[in-house]
Symmetry: C2
């Protein structure tokens, strides 16, 4: 067995419960009594997912926000989080960021675990639990040919914020990179109306490729239609950079959308490549976006 | 802020939702629709909670078993787990142990996250989700004076197994140490009948001290009454060694117990120390058992 892809393939053979959705989705979807639970867990590793000198308050925010974004993609209402915390240099700042985001989205901390690092690079984990707010929980697998492809917000703001932070440019806002906003309200409003939905964590192009693959369709994207929050010459970068956490979804063209969103393309029957970018077929996801380690 | 105790104290100030049970319990208890969810998350760190040369199959088993044991202490039926996995040397063996325990207890793998270590010592996390099977979910806070104190099984088997493994003694069974058994059936049978319950993960004495403290009672333990799976001269060691994962509970003396358990003492009104061991008051938990890092 070599690396992540092999391991996940082997895990898939274990995760045969339908709630696991073949490990292909943003979250698990589990019916419990009269409710449908949405469950997601992410780990982040120092030096891999964040830098040792980042403000721990921002790390806490992002750890929670990325998990809440997974809930948003399912139209879920968060009911709580469990934190797996490894003690570090500045735990007080981490707690500050944790409080900030939990208060902002009114999400309770339910429990978790605290460990010492034993000299290891630090690893943090977060489990977010939500409940479905619509009878059909959006998936990645049901994009319908003929439907439009839409995105909320503008892409590239996280990229610009990251570069500003890295290059110490004072006049560009880096908040979106440091403290991304999970689209919970938008996700809940859209969930009953869409044919498929996911959040954009690894870049529009790579995540669109994944959506197309999961749904066995071709997504035709017009790059000029994508709203970007970056200079025009950075358009392609904005489409392949991750960390924006906007929602990507498909819906029938006559759907009256309850939240601002932009039509950036359409869903076609699969014919060749999963992705058509300005009519250019893209079959290989390599280089399309950010692949998380 | 210095270390785990300070951090948890600060976390407690954030975790004010009643479901978090002040972070004093084995798991969070959250009402969702008509069901009550039981949620727990543990992290384990290489070199702290397990040794690099341990069989990854056993590490997987124990990671899941300890979380299922937390569910058992609440009388919960497991509905699934989320795995936070950091890729390592022998992922195939890990998957073997994971399959073993999930099949044994018929628990689905629902999802999670896989990351690479980036050179870090490895950290693994597991979230277990269960549903309550009794209308009252046992806690650590309601031990009642006059009730008896009971334990399932025999204590010290994990200690003997650990020592046999460490010292390469072939004739002593080390299975209980490597692959502890979560008392799920026992927990479900006991939950409606007990006044308090927890699992013994850090040793009978330390965990009894915690139960007494959470319930604000004194627990009087007769050490000779405790069933041990170790030579008599190791009795005190067996009472302070962890990893047995038996259930510790209090119940009215006239309760007809549905599973084998041994009365090892009684609950008294708090008068001085939380613990009386053979009439000797114990106020300070230091040295009583294993404190997890």
């Amino acid at each position: 067995m070599k690396g992540e892809a092999d391991f996940i393939a082997a895990l898939r053979a274990i995760a045969h419960h339908p709630a696991a959705r073949m490990l292909n989705d943003d979250a698990a979807v589990l019916a419990i009594g009269s409710e449908t639970l949405i469950l997601t867990h992410d780990m982040i590793v120092e030096g891999v997912h964040y830098l040792p000198d980042q403000d721990p308050a921002d790390i806490a925010w992002k750890l929670v926000a990325t998990n809440l974004s997974d809930l948003a993609a399912k139209g879920a209402k968060p009911v709580g989080v469990l934190l797996g915390y490894m003690l570090g240099e500045n735990d007080t700042r981490f707690l500050k960021g944790l409080r900030d985001i939990l208060n902002t989205y009114d999400v309770p901390l339910l429990g978790g675990d605290t460990v010492s690092s034993g000299g290891a690079s630090r690893t943090l984990g977060l489990t977010a639990i939500g409940t479905a707010t619509s009878t059909t929980v959006p998936s990645r697998t049901a994009a319908m040919p003929g439907h439009g492809l839409y995105v909320t917000g503008r892409l590239g703001a996280a990229m610009m914020g990251f570069e500003a932070l890295r290059n110490h440019i004072p006049n560009i806002d880096n908040t979106v990179y440091r403290r991304p906003i999970p689209r919970l309200t938008e996700g809940q409003a859209l969930a009953p109306l869409v044919s498929s939905m996911m959040d954009i964590s690894d870049g529009l192009l790579l995540d669109s490729w994944r959506l197309a693959t999961a749904s066995n369709v071709t997504l035709a994207i017009k790059s000029q239609c994508v709203p970007i929050a970056a200079p025009e010459e950075r358009r392609y970068d904005a489409l392949s950079w991750g960390d924006d956490y906007e929602l990507l979804f498909t819906a029938a063209s006559d759907t009256s959308l309850p939240v601002p969103a932009t039509r950036i393309g359409e869903v076609k029957e699969r014919n060749g490549a999963p992705l058509l970018l300005d009519s250019n077929p893209i079959s290989d996801p390599a280089g399309l976006g950010y692949t998380h380690n």
